[in-house]
Symmetry: C2
Subunit: 146 residues, 2 copies
């Protein structure tokens, strides 16, 4: 199973991997101060923007297994940021929706969370920011395809 992948691609993949690890670890340190940690914020973001959504779909969107998402949602509900209710159409599934507090927190708080990164991005040239934007779009596509 050694389908030949160019060394160029392997190196890029490796660097992206490593950089993603370090970026998230740095951001995680800042997260500690705020109320919401990374997985919860990320899930809340999907809940807010994808409206009421089934737990399974949410787990898929977040690239985690359903039991993992069950726990994250449980925490969000306990914090008053999301609600769960049975789907009347299909009582097996559960619909997760944001509360108004959840929406508010996303709109105001999300920016604050990535502020340390944003502050650095803000110091880049317009051209560099454009490169980041394009790269993000490419990676996003690539991850979906994996």
């Amino acid at each position: 199973m050694t389908s030949k992948i160019s060394w160029d691609s392997l190196e890029i993949a490796d660097r992206l991997h490593s950089t993603a690890i370090h970026l998230l670890r740095k951001l995680r340190r800042e997260d500690a101060r705020t109320g919401l940690n990374t997985p919860r914020l990320s899930a809340l973001s999907v809940i807010v923007f994808a409206g009421p959504i089934a737990l399974g779909q949410l787990a898929a969107a977040e690239q985690v297994r359903p039991p993992t998402m069950t726990r994250i949602v449980k925490a969000l509900v306990a914090m008053g940021l999301a609600t769960r209710r049975r789907n009347p159409e299909d009582a097996r599934s559960v619909q997760i929706a944001p509360t108004s507090a959840g929406k508010r927190l996303m709109m105001r708080g999300r920016e604050r969370r990535v502020r340390s990164l944003a502050a650095q991005v803000d110091r880049l040239t317009q051209h560099e920011r454009s490169t980041l934007r394009q790269a993000e779009a490419i990676i996003s596509r690539v991850v979906t395809a994996m």
Copy 2:
């Protein structure tokens, strides 16, 4: 403390954050099959390329606290991939070095670990790969500056 950061930068930061989360979660799933998980592989990489290194420096390089690194190193040593020895110059500190098995695993295994990502990168155009490379370099710089 609302130092004004452009909305453009905030959005880029936010997207990068989100994409990094999803990329790592996807890769983590593949990692499960191989022997080494993400933090261990990442640490081993530094150990291999930065030669014998003190535990504290390794923790700093990896953006984690010393106790976290103590455990990661412990696991690597147990797997025969790294060694620890007291620094003769300063008996408080511990030097971590790769074993030949550790080096071998890095050289051969690291590529395999990011293979699923690399396979996707390999299907991109030359121009897209170039964008990824540039973006990675920018992010890497930015993370260091944070």
